[in-house]
């Protein structure tokens, strides 16, 4: 109690009582507006207009595409070379292994792919930390209460208890399930894989039991991961809809409206907001001083030049 009161006194002494006059208010407003414009630009920059007038929405940048490609390649190689080893007791599997050049080569490929996977995981972790601590943003993958509601909503919709499916923002709950399952899988697989790779070093720190435990976990988690990818990921990206945005980086407007309507609405709103700001500047009016134009009017203007 006493401490807080002292703090209060000190603060009041150090910072002079602020007189909020008209000029300050204007300045603060301008700052807030600038911040909004910056945010809007970020979103609106994701709209790309093709020469034929069709608009595409940028969904992933190049780095994300390449991360996925690396993950895809390394995961497939790891799963293939790993599962062959797991089931090598069966004669046909052993024949395949020996046809491919023997278990030593298989292990080399497995370890090279593991290095690629670890590298892309570290890169991704670094990116997340950068987003979080430097840009002070939470990535779209962060779980929210809305995701749980969406999940329940989706189940009810599938049971014909809701007229419409839930509207998703940047990432839907099924994408988040996929992502976090993958994160869990990466942690387990990399940790247990490294333990098996360097058993002598590991037994200097951990008891010997760590190695059979790692073996068991690595094996089961691999089976779980492969099944998850084959069932969950393939269903949502290839069977339900054919979603190629991770490879091309883009989604068409129709796809966006269908799959990520909330995000699409934000992007379009940001775009319209910027247009109004631009129009105000051209007119020489203080930004946003003029009464806002009708939404329908701005939305119908397709004349947005490529802003990349």
């Amino acid at each position: 109690m006493i401490k807080t009161s002292i703090k209060k006194i000190n603060r009041s002494r150090l910072t002079p009582v602020h007189q909020e006059d008209e000029a300050d208010l204007q300045r603060i407003k301008q700052e807030l507006l600038n911040k909004r414009i910056r945010e809007a630009r970020k979103l609106a920059l994701r709209i790309i207009t093709m020469l034929n007038g069709r608009r595409l929405i940028r969904r992933f940048d190049l780095s994300q595409s390449y991360q996925h490609l690396t993950l895809l390649t390394s995961f497939t190689l790891l799963a293939f070379t790993g599962l062959l080893q797991t089931y090598s007791a069966h004669a046909p599997v052993a024949a395949v292994i020996n046809f491919l050049g023997g278990v030593d080569d298989l292990r080399t490929v497995h370890r090279l792919a593991a290095i690629a996977l670890i590298a892309v995981t570290i890169y991704h972790a670094w990116q997340i930390l950068e987003t979080w601590f430097v840009r002070r943003e939470r990535g779209g993958m962060w779980p929210r209460v809305k995701d749980f509601h969406d999940f329940v909503h989706m189940i009810l919709y599938n049971l014909d208890r809701r007229p419409h499916p839930p509207a998703f923002d940047r990432f839907s709950f099924d994408e988040k399930i996929e992502y976090w399952a993958l994160i869990w899988g990466q942690i387990v697989m990399i940790a247990t894989g490294v333990i098996m790779w360097f058993p002598l070093f590991v037994t200097k720190i951990l008891p010997g039991d760590a190695i059979p435990i790692a073996r068991t976990l690595h094996r089961w988690e691999a089976i779980l991961a492969v099944l998850s990818i084959l069932i969950w990921h393939m269903y949502h990206t290839q069977i339900k809809t054919r979603n190629t945005s991770i490879f091309t980086g883009f989604m068409s407007e129709e796809e966006m409206i269908h799959e990520h309507p909330l995000e699409y609405r934000r992007i379009i709103a940001a775009h319209e907001f910027l247009q109004r700001v631009q129009a105000d500047k051209v007119a020489g009016v203080t930004p946003l001083a003029s009464p806002s134009g009708g939404d329908a009017e701005t939305a119908s203007t397709p004349s947005l030049t490529v802003s990349q």
Binding site: A94, I97, L200, D209, I223, L224, S228, W232
Partner: protein, 448 residues
């Protein structure tokens, strides 16, 4: 036993050089007569010491008469010796009693079955036909001194030369064994120039051949004749002592692991990889192991672990690459395998670290625990592993995969039903429009 056809074919071959005529037939008859007379004389002559000069036998083809009687005439004489070209003397005495009790004797084989190069009696020695008088001076030869050996010249360089020459005769009956042995380590050593590499008779004996596995311990003992130190080690191993001391007839002898006629050298590239199948041949056999209360999990647990999986893949690859991963004998020992509760055993708990260090030089005291000692994880011994297995097997994988499938099932049903409903609605609308356009002209379409 020699087949009749074979013997007659040999006779045919000889027939080219020697064609029997009436004179020869007479000689044969006389020969039989002589043999009978000599047998009779043997009992009488000695007693009376009144040697009646006997006709000198002319060389007689052996195929025509019961040869053994002729052979035994000389070869049962303790004083009958042979001289090799290098001057060595060999006893030509054959213990006919032991021969009669051998497998070949019991089968009724005659001497020439194994000595086919002996074509006549008395047979050629040193390349030229010899006369009876050479050995039997009382029939007109050199005077015989009592106790002096009767020495005949032999057409062989030395004893080994003779053994090798005669050994080839085994092939005429034991074709399969000969064929199996062509790739054996022993034959390779022989081909490399070591004439002392074992041939058939070195292991099986010559005139006293008995079944090699009665008792089974005899097998290892015959190998031990040459491989002394290995045999001594083996003799006191878990397998050797079970065989020698117990009535344990299943315990492996040398040939159970190394092969008998096709014996492979342990330095043969595939021997190392194949060794796991040798051990597994018995130790994965539930019926056999249950007799001795030995778990057959040992083989399966080995195969499902890093070492076993690698070695097994190498074995199946058929390549000549040797697995560097541990095989059974790398940890358990080879000829010196001891039961795991023997403190001298390489897998006795306190010896495990040094056993691991044979390959994993830096292995510390915790390292051996990285291997579950052939145990399948149980709730009591390794609870953590047991629960990981249980959780993934019965909870996580069925739960996650099942959940995914249920969700996808619901989702798919909804999508399909939506699609159907959409289509139905479109059909209904089209139908409606068509009805309007056609008016009354489509009365035929449906019955009232």
């Amino acid at each position: 036993m020699i087949a009749k056809g074979e013997r007659s074919s040999q006779d045919d071959a000889r027939g080219r050089a020697w064609r029997p005529g009436p004179r020869q037939a007479l000689a044969v008859l006389s020969c039989i007569l002589i043999a009978l007379l000599m047998l009779m004389a043997a009992s009488t002559v000695q007693a009376e010491a009144d040697p009646t000069p006997l006709p000198i036998p002319t060389p007689t083809p052996l195929g025509e008469v019961s040869a053994d009687a002729n052979c035994r005439m000389c070869h049962t004489d303790h004083n009958f010796r042979g001289r090799f070209r290098n001057g060595d003397i060999i006893d030509l005495y054959v213990d006919s009693g032991r021969f009669d009790n051998s497998v070949h004797g019991e089968a009724g084989l005659e001497c020439i079955a194994c000595h086919p190069q002996t074509t006549s009696y008395p047979h050629e020695a040193g390349g030229k036909q010899i006369d009876c008088v050479v050995c039997h001076p009382e029939e007109g030869g050199k005077p015989e001194k009592p106790g002096e050996a009767l020495i005949t010249n032999l057409p062989y360089e030395d004893a080994r030369d003779m053994t090798l020459a005669i050994n080839d005769a085994c092939r005429s009956c034991h074709k399969e064994e000969f064929k199996a042995a062509t790739d054996s380590a022993h034959v390779k050593v022989m081909k490399a120039g070591n004439i002392y590499a074992p041939v058939c008779v070195d292991c099986h004996g010559s005139h006293d051949t008995t079944p090699p596995d009665q008792p089974r311990a005899k097998i290892s003992r015959s190998c031990g004749e040459c491989h002394r130190s290995v045999y001594t080690t083996y003799r006191f191993s878990v397998h050797g002592s079970a065989l020698e001391e117990g009535s344990d007839s299943d315990a492996p002898t040398c040939v159970d692991c190394h092969g008998a006629h096709q014996v492979r050298g342990p330095r043969n590239p595939s021997f190392r990889d194949d060794s796991i199948a040798i051990c597994g041949g018995c130790h994965a056999d539930k019926k056999l192991m249950s007799k001795y209360g030995i778990s057959t999990d040992v083989f399966q647990t080995y195969l499902s672990d890093f070492h076993g999986r690698s070695v097994n893949l190498y074995r199946l690859s058929g390549s000549q690459r040797q697995a560097s991963e541990a095989t059974c004998f790398d940890c358990h020992g080879i000829h010196n395998i001891l039961p795991p509760d023997d403190p001298r055993s390489s897998i006795y708990p306190s010896n495990l670290q040094s056993t691991c260090q044979q390959c994993h030089e830096d292995a510390n005291i915790r390292f051996p625990a990285a291997w579950l000692s052939h145990y399948i994880p149980t709730r009591e011994e390794t609870p953590l592993l047991y629960f990981i297995n249980a959780i993934y097997q019965f909870l996580l994988i069925p739960g996650v995969v099942g959940g995914f499938l249920v969700y996808i099932g619901l989702d798919t049903r909804k999508r399909w039903s939506d699609k159907r409903r959409k289509k139905r609605r479109a059909v209904a609308i089209a139908e409606e429009e068509l009805k309007e356009e056609l008016g009354d002209d489509q009365d035929f379409y449906q019955e009232d």
